[in-house]
Amino acid sequence: MPESPRNHLTDEELNRYVDGNADLPLAWLAHIQACGHCRQKAGGLASQQRKLEALASAERSTPGSACADGEIWWRIALDIAPADDAHAALAHAARCPTCARKLRLAIEDRDADLATQDPLIQGLPSSTSERMAQQAHRLTRAARAAAGHSAFGWKIWLVGAAAILGAISGTLILTRPTSGDANRLLAQAYGERRVTELRFPGARYAPFGQERGKADLQSQALREASAQIAKERSRHPHDGLWLQSSGRAKLIEWRYRDALSELQRAEVLLPGDPSVLADLAAAYFERAQAGDSQADYQVAIDLLSQAIGRDTNNAELHFNRAIVLGYVFQFPQAIQEWEEFLRLEPTGDWASEARSRLAEVKARGWPK
């Protein structure tokens, strides 16, 4: 067959050839055999197809700041997510292996055939009717307590609920110190000696000093908190709130590697909790300070942004993001952030410091 352009296969015909359609006219096949131009073009299409098919195996799982929280995936799987949220999350998952995996797991969970006669279940105390009745009683008390104490925040209630449920094993958690007690001691320790520029949750104002992690400088409050945490951590190794407290103690001691490890685990147990995200950001900030790593500063900003997304009016979070933004030279954003902080907390010592920092960023373009 002559290689006249008039006889070349069209793009659509070449596509069908590359797709391997079985019902192609013999004349097309004969032409491709004879025509270098069409054969070469088909080869190009095939080569691009191979690249597309290699994409999945080249994907690497690296969770990022844009990753949505875990709930959206099961909501999508169950078709109970608002349409706009679902499409935005799906667009992200399609490009993010970590989130695509979470979505796939949610679909697997939805479609799983459950073995309700599983021996593992049959042997559990909670499966007996007596325990079920006790469970109902505890849940009712927990729900009533939550409704009556909602002003204190869900985490405090959760600790209370955990305490009530802990009674299953005959343990009276309510008489023990809570992670909230430890956190108050840690905030006190920070207030006595402020070792980081970032604000510590719930702490009173203290001027920033540079003495870090010296054992002989440990306050009584820090020692007391550390002892409580060590004791309760051994009792509840998988309790996210105690892990968080432990991470906070390490932050005050400037042991950022240990803090990162503890807080990353806390984040797994308390996914999306803004206070954990903020603590994790503080750990990355400390590591950034130690190694002058721009990447760690950026991670801290991303984490704080996630936390602010969930707790918009938390002034401490805005204060901390303003500080970190200065370190990555994002001065306009830092200025905006200081102004937002001052809108939320216009008076007091923290506001005075913020005004001073804002003036410096404006004047010199560099944080204190």
Binding site: E12, N15, D19, Q40, A42, G43, G44, S47, Q48, Q49, R50, L52, A54, L55, S57, A58, E59, E71, W74, D79, A81, A86, H87, A88, L90, A91, A93, A94, R95, P97, A100, L105, A106, I107, D109, A112, L114, A115, T116, L120, I121, G123, S127, M132, Q135, A136, H137, L139, T140, A143, A147, S150, W157, L158, A161, A162, H238, R265, V268, A295
Partner: protein, 219 residues
Amino acid sequence: MLSELSCEELLRCVQQAKEDAWKEFIRRFHPVIAASVARIVRQCGLTEAEIGEDLIQDVYVKLCDRNCRILRGFRNDREDGLYAFLKVVSANIARDRCQAVVAAKRGGGKLVPLSPENEIAAEGEFANRIAHQLFLAKVEAILVRPTEGLTAVRDQSIFWLYYRQGWTAREIASIAAFDLTTKGVESLLRRLLRQVRLELVRTSGEDSGEGSGLPNPFR
């Protein structure tokens, strides 16, 4: 009689912290919660019954959390709807906890740092990570044209779920938000693939190589 309440009515009573409602809720749904947790515990290779028991308690705590926030978000009066809902929610909570337990057992919980060593080296069709990223960016730009209109975001998501995440057309079609059957997904993918492939050849000037023995999902 509480046993005659619809799911929606029962959930309303549960949210009002009525003890009898909780009893009925547990009577109806404890088996699915426990079975879902047990499935995940086994998947994670854990065998300790105490872990299963703790995880079931975790699920109940989570269901009570913030004035039954999760249960309040459920809107479906069908018994099997709530059954599926609790199955997925329980599995999700259990998996998060199990992964933490497994990580703790391995002494893990550490993030893998982003460093040049973790970048993909020459792999398959791509010379390196950069070549892979450039190709993705190119396809992303090409995809804009064939996916114009109201369904653009949906169509791009489907294309990438298939090619980047390796999902099957059936898996994609199982997501109700896409509102497509398996055949519909296959047809969309075929259309997009053909346009993207042609545009890639046009823009790359690459037309080398013989078209040979391609694995193709649409044969």
